[in-house]
Symmetry: C2
Subunit: 555 residues, 2 copies
């Protein structure tokens, strides 16, 4: 898809029509810059899949044009695919201190050592090929987040991938609304903007609200306090430390990612607390309950996370007891509601008080709601508007918001991943083509080796299991010399179904005898007949359809 | 668990600490009456399980004492296990006209014909054994719902399994608050009350609100209107017909359960509309879009339901086009959020306007919220209070509400299923024991034959698939005469992994050769060694752990 002369194209490879695996390309005739390289966590029907990453075959084909990867912030849905990208397309990586701190940890796990990492900060201007990109500070639910203003031959393109407007942020740095206004005054060609909360009316409250929520609870709690939140939400974590300090409680950090982030964020200066506040998990029981806060992972009810293990009474060091207060400082990601619900039920059963979610004042979103999205639109006043970062209904809603503040309908593009949106020097814009895009599944060490065939089998296996029928026959005569034997897994409880399986074996014997009589010895016919006979019999008897695998050995 | 003389016991067999499979037993020394017999829809980790029903082994053991099954209403979580119960314990079934109408359809599917069905109505008094039970009309999201007042030797026990207070119900019959007040004035020993919305502050709005929402939308819609809701919500359906009639639109009913319920409810007089309003699905395209309403199943995003098929452009007769308005008149049941979200996304993509949920005025809950639960408590003023019908956190919250209106903490029982709560003639109450209880899984024709072993296998199969290694050996010498062959399903994409599987085969050959050298011929040792060798090799190469199934044939 060659880009026209003097034009610039934007190509989303993820994050549109889906939540996660965010990746956008900015392409000119000479250069490609990659914005973000995120993963998506698989929906439950992607059985056994660990991660979903964007299809980067277009980048592999155009390797020589790729100048840099620019990361807007350190969330997994923006950096998680970086190791897979760098293995194929090794280019310099730009990001803020916080972002690169998290990236380093990720790259180490993948044993990638030779990456050129360029630390940048809000206000910086980067040159990548002929593109000049300015970084603009924005608020979100992790520190070190930037929006981008890309200066192209066609005009300025603003990317606001994840943001909110927080007028009283924890680090004292509100979104740089002045710079956005300045850019808007000079003229913004196109705005690409975060649609996560485009369905939510009103404004997202300030992160500071959560600190007030913590303080109230911390002041009144008589027993231990456990707070679970996203490890990457460093400002939230800061507020846990602040609230704990105010009531002279020590803080014990549990859960691998929480321990890592607290370490990284402290080292990088994003998190500030006296070292003496930290206690080890082994020491927790040495302190009176009202002197302790446990800061934990597991706010999404993830079965292996620390809070979930505490709730299931399976945590090695920490046992929840009556009098404990548990704060789940998060909102369940769609699909996790049941897991979070299970954790809450278990905690109540153990006698804990549970406080959770926005309604109870212990969580706010990191994304702009409808009125803020209008703010962003009116600060930038873009000629073209492209909603990004959301499922289709969110993009659609965001498009309505843009039209409501005056962007003409024909200047709003509802893109699909893979679409090439070209902006030309004459000020026009159009979708000019498509590049390969999609979902690549990571399962263990395999990248892309699990596809529809494997998933279809896993789905059938998961529903009705498998039944294997083995027989050894004489190569020359076709006579059965061993078997048939039947083995099954995930189909029926074998010990209580011996009769059924024995009947199935007899059926199979009959089928084999019949075929032998008719002198059928071709493998395929043999196998198909075995499969059909078993399948019919078993469905009739159980109304289940296990995978049936006939195996014929020849001697 | 013999009940003490002059005492009465209540034993929940489902619906506590879970949502669904509601069933309670009322037991005296002489009689058992079963209240409701519901199913639960399996959570996603119960792979391949179709339904979950209560463990009724206690009823089977005490068959001779069981006098009747009394159904409070016709929802699946209250009647769905009835066929399984009646096959084991054939007793008369009591229910209102609407309830029995739905029960008949269910029993026909199971080919159960010889059941004694006794139609009752609110206000009736039933005698079952020595128990006298009065039926009290309550509002919910289906017609023909009753609460029960059971007159026992120990006092009056009120069961309000599913209810709300609707002062302007569609059928003009509010919950019988006068009778409840009368019973309360005379003295209620114990109240068992619906906890579904115990976490929701305030009041649940009247069903009539939804009619107003429909009217607004119907008046303004220019194109076709599609309304999806629960088939059993007859009052909701009535309001669709009413709103359609007001704007002179015809109604086309699609989806098997919707067609069934509209037929049954019309026949029984619960649903009223002129026959001429109905049009066949084949006729839809003969009418101008603004003259048609499609009434459909699929409000939970169920993949095979009519609305989901329309959204996926897979419905045979109805295609969603720009200009259509789709109303999803429901709230996603926890766990269904993603499915509903997917449907909404697809509908937007096809150009439809989508209106859904409570926030947009097209749905209200069928369950009482916190303030209404206090009303129920204050009408009955029970000595003992037992929250039922909800997960533990809802029961817990409901218990707090009861204490807030003055029930002493020691008189509130947070029960588990299987608990025997005995009320004695002297006015005391206590948990005196437990009976068998739990979840029985229905998979196809099998009831209870899928348990933890099968589910564990299905889980492993679903994640990493299975690999089968077959070898035929000479019985006498132990020499390999055929194979080893390797077959896999759901593990890797075989066509692209031939090399890996061939390497695995070579490893296996080496292992077999080594064992042959060491003259190892015992099956178990052979199999274990084969499994270990493959498992180690495959994990090293793929980081996956398929089930490994070695099969040794002897000739």
């Amino acid at each position: 898809m060659p880009v026209s002369e003097n034009a610039v194209a934007v190509i989303p490879l993820g994050g549109l029509g889906e939540v996660g695996k965010n990746m956008w390309l900015i392409e000119t005739p000479d250069d490609i810059v990659v914005v973000d390289a995120g993963v998506m966590f698989p929906e439950e029907d992607l059985l056994g899949v660990d991660l979903v990453i964007p299809d980067i075959s277009y980048l592999k084909e155009n390797k020589d044009k790729v100048r840099a990867v620019l990361l807007t912030h350190g969330h997994e849905d923006h950096i998680g695919a970086l190791p897979y990208l760098l293995k194929e397309v090794p280019v310099p990586v730009y990001g803020t201190r916080m972002t690169l701190g998290l990236v380093r940890a990720r790259l180490q796990e993948h044993e990638i050592n030779s990456v050129e990492m360029k630390e940048v900060r809000a206000g910086d201007r980067i040159r990548a090929g002929k593109l000049r990109i300015e970084l603009i500070h924005v608020n979100h639910s992790i520190p070190g987040v930037v929006a981008l203003a890309v200066d192209t031959s066609a005009g300025v393109i603003v990317f606001a991938t994840d943001f909110k407007f927080d007028h009283t942020p924890i680090d004292g740095r509100p979104t740089d609304v002045q710079r956005l206004g300045q850019l808007g005054a000079r003229g913004v060609l196109a705005l690409f903007s975060d649609s996560t909360n485009a369905e939510k009316p009103g404004y997202t409250p300030s992160e500071r609200i959560v600190g007030e929520g913590f303080s109230d609870i911390f002041r009144n709690a008589k027993g231990r306090i456990v707070v679970a939140t996203f490890a990457s939400n460093v400002h939230r974590i800061q507020q846990v430390f602040d609230a704990a300090a105010a009531v002279r409680r020590k803080v014990c950090v549990v859960g691998r990612s929480m321990v890592n982030v607290v370490r990284i964020a402290s080292e990088l200066g994003y998190l500030k607390f006296p070292e003496s506040m930290l206690i080890d998990v082994a020491e927790v029981d040495d302190y009176p309950p009202d002197r302790v806060v446990v800061l934990s992972t597991g706010s999404q009810g993830e079965p292996m996370a620390a809070l979930s293990r505490m709730a299931a009474s399976e945590h090695r060091q920490i046992r929840i007891v009556p009098g404990d207060t548990v704060i789940i400082s998060a909102h369940p990601i769609p699909g996790n509601e049941r897991l979070v619900g299970r954790t809450v039920n278990q905690l109540y059963k153990l006698g804990a008080q549970v406080v959770h979610g926005e309604a109870q004042g212990v969580h706010v979103s990191g994304h702009a709601a409808q009125e803020e999205l209008k703010w962003m639109l009116n600060l930038c006043r873009p000629k073209y508007f492209i909603p990004i970062h959301g499922e289709y209904r969110m993009l659609w809603q965001h498009a309505q918001l843009a039209m409501s503040v005056g962007v003409p309908e024909e200047n709003v593009f509802l893109l699909d991943i893979g679409d090439v949106l070209e902006f030309r020097a004459d000020g026009t814009a159009a979708v000019t083509g498509r590049v390969p895009s999609g979902q690549v599944f990571v399962d263990g060490l395999g990248v892309g080796d699990v596809g529809n065939v494997v998933l279809r089998d896993r789905r059938q296996l998961s529903q009705d299991g498998i039944l294997i029928a083995v027989v050894t026959i004489d190569k020359r005569t076709g006579a059965v010399v061993a078997g048939p034997d039947i083995v099954s897994r995930g189909f029926v409880y074998i010990r209580e179904s011996e009769e059924l399986l024995e009947e199935a074996r007899v059926r199979l014997q009959e089928t084999l005898a019949e075929m032998s009589e008719r002198q059928i010895t071709q493998w395929n016919v043999l196998k198909n007949n075995m499969r059909d006979a078993l399948s019919r019999f078993l469905y009739e008897r159980t109304k289940r359809r296990p995978i049936i695998l006939p195996i014929v050995m020849e001697v």
